[in-house]
């Protein structure tokens, strides 16, 4: 398991470095708040621990669960709000470009 963990760690760091470097300064704030939302991923650790541990440890996990969820939901929501504001000349309408078109 440790092996798999380290592989995933290295692969994510390398791939992440590549794609993140390509994000233009224009979008650095949304990038950051999006990354911020991702750091709330610790919510899944909180869920796993909360479900299995004895009550005295469960209280801490419960607190972690709530805080991480605030982080995730708040982070994605502010990012959504920000990105909706980025409109170009050709995109005055509410219709957004869909990447797979």
């Amino acid at each position: 398991m440790l092996f798999a963990l380290l592989i995933i760690l290295a692969a994510s760091a390398l791939l992440g470095y590549r794609v993140i470097s390509g994000v233009p300064p224009l979008l650095h704030t949304p990038l950051m708040s999006g990354m911020n939302a991702l750091s709330g991923i610790t919510v899944i650790g909180a869920v796993a621990v909360f479900a299995t541990v004895p009550p005295e440890a469960g209280a801490w996990a419960a607190a972690a669960l709530v805080l991480a969820m605030v982080n995730v939901a708040g982070g994605f929501w502010v990012t959504e709000r920000m990105l909706r504001m980025f409109r170009g000349k050709e995109r005055e309408s509410e219709v957004e470009d869909i990447p797979w078109q």
Partner: protein, 537 residues
């Protein structure tokens, strides 16, 4: 196991693909949504997996808790204003860090008795420390950004040593935690958390306003590291991979910010200030050594002032009025409230300062300059945001474009309180993102520009960065606004920016300065443009 790995790869690919879509403003919104979707998948998977071996009643409780958290998060995300984005990110960051530390602590409490693997004890200690560090740093950074307290860099004697000592002791207990594998006590972990928290507070306390982009990026990175290490502790692939992504993103942004500000990360964190600081304004220079907390009233004014452009000076209220009173007089003449600052600046600059008022172009030329310019570059700084002049700038842009002029907006990487902040503020005001150019793209355009309009920016256009050695901004990449044929400066006053370095641009002959609140001076430009229409030009 195979399913776990497969799912982890799918979810991580979702995140990475989401970031890839963020490389263009056209697809970024979908990138964010893909990220959110992957996150939802990860959370659902976590619930399903936990449901198998969970204690009775836990899953419904967890669902309720998650619902409460999500609702609170969305409410918060809906409520915040765009100008408050840096402190929002700081706060959310702190919560994420706290959550990571708490998960590690709960895991130690729960599994501590049975686990002997050193990796568990090492990672749980590190995760706790990183999470607590993030929390402590973020809370202080958020407090500063919100303007609640500690507006100036605040330090106690031996600040750097205290910080190092805290980190060292924290590291020592992490090592103990690992060496004894919880044999004697699990109480190392709360101790580690406490030390980490203190170190975070200590680190952020002495960060000043303009260094905020750096510390915010760094804390972002730290929250990722905390998550990644927590993932190692509880053996969770998704947690580890995502944490690594966030950690790398934060590091990249930290590096960009450091370069753009000409600071090394070490300098920012240890508070070492470059030795020579010529031409320092007494207002903006942080005195060395002990700094008492500001009295409330002063802190109120400080909060407006502590921007890279030093848009607001101590005379925040009086200055715009004074500038208006000055009316049609030559703009650079220090009027009323500016007297003191003008003198202070003059001491270091006697030769240059004296003839400034006479040699500068007079304000009377402004309407003609605006009419004649075909290519205009606007340089906004944080001072514009402080003055809430985004809408005024947008109206100016519209007015210029209606007259067939080409308008670009030049954005310095650190114009704002976090990376890319200025872009968001201008996008919010309804300015097309195509007009927002970053430094590398816009600098070649200045020589061919007829007019550069600087709004609330000082250090980022200060030619002294290239010409004068030994100042805090020497060697810092700047926007070459001085290369434009004419430059209009709409700053609050002529005090130096955050760096404390006198701006030599203000004294140049092709520059017109229009001191005052940008929310009033920028509309004046628009009015000049509209009222002095010459029919056949």
């Amino acid at each position: 196991m195979a399913v776990t790995i497969l799912l982890a790869v799918i979810i991580l690919s979702g995140f990475i693909w989401g970031i890839r879509l963020m490389q263009s403003p056209r697809t970024a919104l979908w990138g964010n949504r893909l990220g959110a979707l992957s996150m939802a998948l990860a959370v659902i998977w976590a619930f399903l997996a936990a449901g198998d071996g969970g204690a009775p009643g836990r899953i419904p409780t967890a669902l309720v808790l998650a619902g409460v958290g999500a609702a609170a998060g969305i409410a918060l995300g809906q409520a915040v204003k765009m100008i408050h984005m840096p402190q929002t990110v700081a706060l959310l960051n702190g919560l994420g860090g706290a959550a990571s530390a708490l998960v590690a602590w709960a895991a130690v409490l729960a599994y501590g008795g049975q686990v002997e693997a050193q990796i568990f004890w090492a990672t749980s200690g590190i995760a706790t420390a990183a999470g607590a560090l993030t929390l402590g740093g973020s809370l202080i950074a958020g407090t500063k950004l919100q303007g609640l307290a500690f507006q100036r860099p605040y330090q106690v004697p031996g600040h750097g040593y205290i910080l190092r000592l805290l980190l060292l002791v924290c590291g020592f207990f992490i090592a103990l935690n690992m060496a004894f594998q919880g044999l004697f006590s699990t109480s190392y972990v709360p101790l580690i958390a406490l030390l980490g928290l203190l170190a975070g507070v200590c680190m952020a306390l002495r960060i000043g306003g303009a260094d905020m982009p750096i510390i915010i990026s760094l804390l972002n990175s730290l929250s990722g590291v905390a998550a990644a290490v927590t993932g190692l502790a509880v053996e969770n692939l998704i947690l580890t991979g995502t944490g690594a992504l966030v950690g790398v993103a934060g590091l990249i942004l930290t590096r960009i910010m450091c370069r753009a500000m000409n600071r090394s990360l070490l300098v920012v964190l240890t508070g070492f200030t470059p030795p020579a600081r010529p031409q320092v304004s007494p207002e903006t220079e942080p005195p060395a050594g002990v700094k008492p907390p500001l009295p409330v009233a002063e802190a109120e004014r400080e909060r407006e002032k502590d921007s890279p452009a030093a848009e607001r000076s101590g005379e925040a209220g009086a200055a715009p009025a004074a500038s208006r009173e000055a009316g049609e007089e030559p703009a650079a003449a220090p009027a009323g409230a500016h007297g003191e600052a003008g003198e202070a600046g003059g001491v270091g600059e006697d030769a240059a300062a004296a003839p400034a008022g006479e040699t500068s172009l007079s304000e009377d030329r402004l309407p003609a300059l605006l009419q004649e310019a075909a290519r205009v570059v606007i340089v906004p700084g944080y001072g514009m945001a402080v003055a809430q002049a985004q809408q005024a700038v947008r109206q100016l842009v519209d007015a210029l474009e209606q007259r067939g002029k080409e308008v670009k907006i030049a954005i310095h990487p650190v114009a704002g309180r976090m990376p890319g902040h200025m872009n968001v503020l201008l996008a919010e005001a309804g300015i097309d993102y195509e007009k927002l150019l970053d430094m590398d793209a816009v600098n070649p355009q200045f020589p061919s520009a007829d007019l550069a309009i600087v709004v609330g920016a000082c250090d980022v256009v200060n030619p002294a960065a290239n010409t004068v050695e030994g100042t805090p901004i020497s060697g810092m990449p700047i926007l070459n606004a001085e290369q434009a044929k004419h430059v209009i400066i709409c700053n609050l006053d002529e005090n130096p920016g955050y760096s404390g370095v006198e701006n030599s641009l203000y004294r140049q002959p092709h520059v017109i300065t229009l001191w005052g609140d940008a929310a009033q001076t920028v509309p004046r430009l628009t009015t000049m443009l509209q009222e002095n229409e010459t029919p056949a030009s």
